[in-house]
Symmetry: C2
Subunit: 243 residues, 2 copies
DNA sequence: AAACCGGGCTGATCCACGGCAGGATTGCCG
DNA sequence: CGGCAATCCTGCCGTGGATCAGCCCGGTTT
């Protein structure tokens, strides 16, 4: 009997159906489980030789600091996401990582990963797909900050989170639990926390969604999609097309 | 006698010294040279099975369109850069590509690339490095748009271009030829073209740089670096650290 | 209980940037 | 040479969002 599938397994399965063997290799990557407290940074920019992790429980965000004390959150990771894959390749972390909640993560050594890839090439493809998807998310984030107004940007961000959470069984079409504060949202969206508050109020008043006490409730999915021009293609598209 | 090194070869050599054999394999990727006219898009978002290219001459920009007609330029490619590497992997283009000038590019088939990697693993590492660098540039771009003001953002963008162009022999510490219009700059920086104009004037009035008739002249490198908080680490760092 | 702290919420004011509208330059083409 | 189309440039005014300042609430510390 196999153990319950990890969030990562669930995510990858939405892309290609993995065999039992492949799932087993994947599960093998989850030895070396570690926990980290909320709020204390994992990585400091510029430090070499960081490890990579698969996030199993909890949320983290990756950000860069500017000299005036402001920061920009580049992306938010949820269960099933990789952490610091690129810093392993480049041998230097190029951003900081803050656990938003207490988290559990499995440390993944480069050798483990290479071994897994050698054993099960389809797994390599799937992980590569996940990495490309992360990159596409950053691009979409860039477009949002550059060209969408605060309302559309916020709606887009929350819709993206929703889609990603549903994929790993942490949310439904109706909503999801979200541990991000309004400060987090501001830093992610390039807005001030004060303005985030006003934007959330407007979304509420328009009957689109509510975000209260760590719970996002989507009330008018269609309306949100329209407002945000949200097209989930970049998140889940063409799995089957990839060879 | 080897032919003159391509822009890509120059770029990769700044990262690892390549042997003659490796340079030859690299040169082999430049068969299948093609030309494209300025202004006419190469790729349309969502179309499957696009080719990848190595840009040999000229500039292009990758952008995404929004429904209100605005666009966001995600990155600008110069000679030596890859074009559409990710769309080959994902089998679908996720953005549009506009040649800013007439360009020459070498079409690269997946099979060529895989073959080159199999023959010369160090080449694979180098190309992977280039891809990671591109990704880091997008992240830096995101931070700029999210948290820097128009002046710093513009200065940062031009400094980054400068550093990249110097690497492939298209510029010096004093300046470079830049075919981008103020509309391009606006679309890249998330500003209106009108405001770009004002920003360029201010940079000129502060004695930092001039951008006139397609020529960027850097007059106060230090001042620009300070204004933009520019740290080129993400462009050229830790080559030797990568194994 | 008092003090404190993090987070949510709101109003008043300010300013960086967008939008519009028109004029000046430049380069290209017949 | 004249005409036309980009592109550059500028002034004026409107506005989205930042900043500041303050209040409320629930949880923790003492």
């Amino acid at each position: 009997m196999l153990p319950a599938p990890s969030a990562l397994a669930r995510k990858l399965c939405s892309f290609v159906a993995l065999s039992e063997d492949e799932l087993e290799v994947l599960a093998g990557l989850h030895r070396r489980r570690r926990s980290f407290a909320a709020g204390r940074d994992l990585t400091l920019e510029g430090q070499p030789n960081q490890a990579a992790y698969i996030l199993a429980e909890g949320w983290v965000c990756s950000y860069k600091l500017l000299s005036d004390g402001t920061r920009q959150i580049v992306d938010v990771q949820i269960p099933g996401d990789f952490l610091g894959l690129r810093s392993v390749l480049l041998r230097t972390a190029d951003h900081n990582i803050e656990p938003v909640t207490a988290i559990e993560a499995s440390e993944v050594l480069e050798s483990d990963l290479l071994h897994a890839f050698a054993t099960t090439p389809r797994l390599a493809t799937a992980v590569l797909w996940a990495a490309s998807r992360d990159e596409a998310m950053v691009v979409e984030h860039l477009v949002g900050i550059g060209r969408r107004d605060a309302l559309g940007r916020t709606a887009h961000f929350l819709l993206e989170l929703s889609a990603r959470l549903i994929l790993v069984g942490r949310g439904t079409r109706e909503g999801f639990a979200c541990p991000l504060t309004q400060y987090h949202l501001g830093d992610a969206l390039g807005l001030s926390a004060v303005h985030v508050n006003r934007v959330l109020r407007e979304l509420r008043e328009r009957g689109l969604l509510t975000f209260q006490r760590g719970q996002v409730s989507i009330q008018d999915f269609r309306g949100l999609v329209e407002l945000a021009e949200f097209d989930s293609a970049y998140l889940d598209h063409q799995g089957p097309l990839l060879r």
